[in-house]
Amino acid sequence: MKSKLIATAATLLLAATTSAFSAERVKFEMWHGLTGDLGGAVEEVCKRFNDSQADYEITCTSQGSYDNALQNAIAAYRAKKNPTIVQVFDAGTLDLLLSEAYVPARKLMADNGYKINWEDYIPAISNYYANSKGELNSFPFNSSTAMFYWNKDAFAKIGKTSAPKTWDETFDALKALKSAGYECPMAWNYDTWPIMEQSSAINNLPIATKGNGYQGLDAEFAVNKTKFVDIVKNLKKAYDDGLVKIKTPDTGATIVQAFSNADCQVMLSSIADHGTVGKTQKPDMQWEVAMLPTLTGAERHNSLVGGASLWALQGKTDGEYKGAAAFFNFIAQPDSALFWSTRTGYIPVTKSGFEFMKAQGFYDKAPYKGRELAIASLNASPITENTRGIRLGGFVQIRKEMRDALTDIFANKVSVDDGINSAVERSNAVLRKFEKTYAGKMLP
């Protein structure tokens, strides 16, 4: 009995020491919010990193959604069990920026001896995430922007070979599509992202005072005072005329599904859906993306970046931070950008990545052709106060208030003006509460 016990103990000890020898790589964790095909793509990036060197081993875990990744990271951080890296979506940036929970990207890279050319990031992307001094605190990762998806077959029927450039042209085209017998000229899902955030930037309209919040937490939401109201009015009129159809999961199909199977001829959606449409489209359907339409007479400005960035969180060992820095350095390499953008619909975040992909002929080939327009859209103009980004507290709630208002407006429960005004009023209450929560804090 006793000898058996000793033997077992010896085996265990041996197992422990061998695993200790083979596990000399520093392990660290990353939590992200992507699932399905995109989640798989993140894991492939992690595997490529692990295969590329022998010192570090990253474990990437999907938390199910952007929201969950953020909530779980907060809970874990409060319990001091957080991962080294977490992916946080655009609207979650401000809360983290105002906290002491992260290690600034610049400091992390400098401390670990990496020289990063920060000027290499595409300005519309780096400005969105940067602090008031223009310094990046996190690494832009999966990045996208909104695009105009149009069905070329349908547009050919109405004698058009190019996408409309303005909203007026768009509505004319939708009318012609309707007359040509198309049941659903344009699909829409109440999403505020393309029509409020992106369209405001493209037409250089503010969505809030104080440079959309970048100059202080006392910013006020102000879309009810801009031409955004006209965009909604025109969209509502188009809806009443049967030119726009609502497509959400509760009606039976999302806008992407409705566009992919050629039920609807136009949609406004993220460039990240480019891959999905290509993979799920009706066979032989001809379609393309274009930049979002502008208001007639307005000069085109850059659109906003959407997606998420990667943050290094506090409370980890030097070894883990070294690993994190190596990982960030790895994903910033041009061939990582090529891999990432080939595998997903996301765009490269650096100029060198974009140039490298262009040189490789990535944008000439069929499934990826057209994605360069997303970069063109982000680069359409120098950054202005209105096109830098959005830095408003509680923005998830603000988006919901606006979406609820749009739902009521389209169901004829309130007028366009009343709906937007009340959403703005409610959003400002959210902003004031956020300001009070961070009383005495300055935007870094």
Partner: protein, 294 residues
Amino acid sequence: MEKRATFSKTSVGVMFVLPQILLVFTFFYWPTGAALYWAFTLERPWGGGNEWVGLDNFRQVFADRAYWGSIIRSIIFAGATSFLSMGFGLLLAVACDRGLKFYQAFRTVFVWPYAVVAPAAALAFRFIFAPEAGIFSALVKSNHEFWNPAQNGYHAMTMIIVCYSWKYAAYCFIFFLAALQAIPRSVIEASALDGAGVLRRVRDIQLPLITPTFFFLLVISITDSFQDSFGIVDVMTDGGPAKATEFMVYKIYFDGFRGLDYSGAAAQSIVLMFLMMVLTFFQFRFIERRIHYS
């Protein structure tokens, strides 16, 4: 003489109770305490400071028309789902208890909906009710105004009530059937011999004898409907269209977890807790009096 088992030493008893007290403390009193504290402060999600604001959070919550809307919707939902699920549960249980044809098979089948997790049930019902893709699409082909839960709040509410009641009717069925079968057969047989028909027996014998179960299910149904609607709402409507299905619990989830307004959500949780306590108190105070436990 009454027999009683007692511990020779108090310390032994304490040791037996300790794990339970620890569990209750860790999973109930501690979180409730934290929520209570957050409700009176402004809590930053990533930590790093919170400020005492007294009753501000509550004032803000009660000043919000949308919040009152969510309370009213929750109460309507509780009433409608309790009525439907208990009604159908009782109907099916009485039928099964009578031993109608194939009742053994039905007895098993009727229990299944309760075993389906809420999000899965919600996904199925979302498809059934989708105006453009599901089974209902055939009905609304000609007239889109007739059924459109994506835009009409009443339709969305109906959809959620039906889905929830479908699931909870199964739960009520189990309890009602158990209660009915516990009634001595001799009582039923005696009344049958006296010439009482089926409905008469249900009304005068069975229903009065199962009132304790009835009361238990009423309390549980109402309490559960406040808390358990979440999984269904989250999958089917996200609280929409335009807040039409935003119940108290969904609002707490959205404000707290998605909007990161921890303090506002904590204040709402405290209000919900009090509402539940008041409702249950009234049920015990006014309904239980009329119930006879034999």
